[in-house]
Amino acid sequence: MTTLTDPPKESFRLSMLIYDTRYRSMTIQVVAMIGFMLLAAWLINNTMTNLATLGKPVNLGFLTDRAGYDINQRLVDYSNNDSHLRAAFVGLLNTLLVAFLGCITATIIGVLVGVLRLSKNWLVAKIMTVYVEMFRNVPVLLWIVLAMAILIESLPAPRAFRGAEPEATMKLFDTVAITNRGVYVPEPLFSNSLGNIHLFGSSSLRFDLSVDLLVLAIVFGLSLFGIAKVNARAHRIQDATGDRPKTIWINLGLFFVPSVITLIALGFHLGYPELKGFNFTGGTHMRNSLIALWLALSLYTAAFIAEIVRGGILAISHGQTEAASALGLRPGKTMRLVILPQALRVIIPPLISNYLNLTKNSSLAIAVGYMDITGTLGGITMNQTGRELESVLMLMGCYLLISLSISSVMNWYNNRVKLVER
């Protein structure tokens, strides 16, 4: 006969905190937390002591002081009488501008180069390989400085455009002037302008929103919506009957007609740059620093994007192409309907991180004097006010915010296109 005994009652011993896996993780976490808090307390304590010794306790009041420096390339109005905060805002918009332009051109060049690197033409493939290796293995800062040097040293000065027999002429039917002071391009003007909306009153974040552009954007958005509706209807009919109605003319009409009518109604015309005296007036002036940064960042990032695109296309197995051919799809449709949708899933995550890299690399603008947020808040404002801690922390905060927003938008897109696994 056996007797059942209760298992020995477990009493908690101190050594169980370390040797029992149930408690050990808790111990490690508590130790890590205490360590982290001690480290943070130590750093903050040091900072407070040091700042008190230096006589400049943390204070954001300097942001409302007069900045006193000029920013020549800007998207919103600004004068040197504005505050440091306004200067930082102008810088932030400049960062976003060059990041936006850079991402678009880098994607276009990158996709083109990536596809051409897979070309059957040996010579073309080799040229693209040389391009990719050349840009990937040399620091981006060098490319930026080099682009700036090329623009300043090798382009004609505005005075070369003067006289009856000028040494230099304007490009693209006399509409674009490329000089060593920057590029002058035509600006859009509206003769029946609807005016501007002034946002945020007279605060540092004020900016003017052009109603004309807003209306155009709305009309264009509605056109795109209409096109989507037409396509959806075509899909429905195709699903029901097997015949797809021809939508191309309706779509083209929807794409162009409403926008063109709006443009005519608003009295759209271009303001061309003109040579007045020793410089050009009119048109939009893009400074060398912006062009150099844009160019260098685009070409540099494009080399990385090209590799991603190439890798993405190569990752799709050849059986997919063969199956598409077996279904009777032509090469163009195979690419558009079979290869690209699958390749995109491989391409998008690294593409996001390259967009982020481009945005972060735009902080190198400081090397060519383009006043982005690093140049304003982290450069002149920091040096003038001596508020290193506040400036650098705010600067980091801005970049973190930009990075997180870009990655969340792109992740949302990635989640939409990614393979849904069961």
């Binding site: 490690i28 890590a32 040091n46 040996w122 620091p139 981006v140 690399n361 400081i366 650098v392 600067l395």
Partner: protein
Amino acid sequence: MSNVSFVRTEMLPEQMPPGSSVGFIGWVRANLFDGWLNSVLTVLSLAFIFYILSGLLPWTFQSVWNAASLNECRDIMNETWGSTHGHACWGVINDRWLQLLYGFYPPYPATPTVNVGDGTGLLPAFFRPNLAFVLLIVAVAPVLFTSLPRPLLIVSAAYPFLMPWLLWGGSVWGPLMVAAGFAIGFFAYRILHDIAGGLVALIAAIVLPIIWWMFLASVVATGLESIISISLPEVDSRKFGGFMLSILIGVVAIGCSLPLGILLALGRQSDLLIVKSLCVGFIEFIRGVPLITLLFVASVLLNIFLPPGTEFDIILRVLIMVTLFAAAYMAEVVRGGLAALPKGQYEGADSLGLNYWQAQRLIIMPQALKISIPGIVSTFIGVFKDTTLVSIIGLLDPLGLSNAIRADAAWNGVYWELFAFIAFLFFIFCFSMSRYSMYLERKLHTGHK
């Protein structure tokens, strides 16, 4: 029945393929002129190559090598070719290449005690940085190529202490005492592990070296120095520059970021919530800000974060920030490798009864690191390229020096030659790194293709 066969009974002899589809012509037809689109592309490419080379080759090779200033260069060009356009003035490289390589590092540092590398002709110029570079290759080679003799790894182990002594100079006892700290930790673990158990040994192995470094090392080093004085003339950090500085920052950041990145990746993958969120916070913060802001921290803020009165070297501060930066990126690369491993590997390790660290060391890491080699090497290349950013906070890396050289009246206006030289050297370093990673991938590829 007639004996006529309607099918051929003997094989025809094999015929040569048509001349237009084999050999050079066949290759050209298949690869360059295959259809009208390809033909157009080929012709355009040829025109493009011709255009580039027709400008680049004369510029590179019809150039002036011996000149002391840009004006002298231009005079020589005008005499020889009648124009200053389209000819390089390599005189600037000839004149300043030592500066581009070493910055303002003295060729023969002045000597308070020992005649090592003084101007007496005993040792060649730049003996110390050159020796440090040669030793770097010796130290790295056995790590990179497993076919080399294993005892060479002693050099690898000694190098982290030897290199700072060679470059910065000072007493040999300083680096030796730092090394002694690691030895103390190692032996403390060995001895206490059997006596008092693993945990005590681990704590002792961490605490004892820290006590040694903080309180004893400098005292002992000073004492030993007063008994047996072995020292090299000291060189100030501000004198470091050129590719020496780039390689120094690159090597230290690469060397330290890999172990740190692995730890961060493990932390991010772990089940411990607090450890995980600390690691995620660190990684995402560092990856969300540009390196330049971290360099601003190194140049203006790091001294504010440390106890009052701490003044430490600008290069060391930069090294710390670049290492942290690289470690965050490395952590993400390694995490990718960890995530790519099938779950069965973890379960297999568990079923063998391995504990966490054994499983990581023997099963998980070898496979995860192998998967992530391309990413690791491209992070290395990125770090090495990013060392040029230190020119923005005023250190004299090659790009910073190119500005300094242009500031000299003799070379005011020289751009392309300097940029070409710097780009060329960077290209060689980075390109060879990427080729090495391809070699390593092939070597470690044990699966089926």
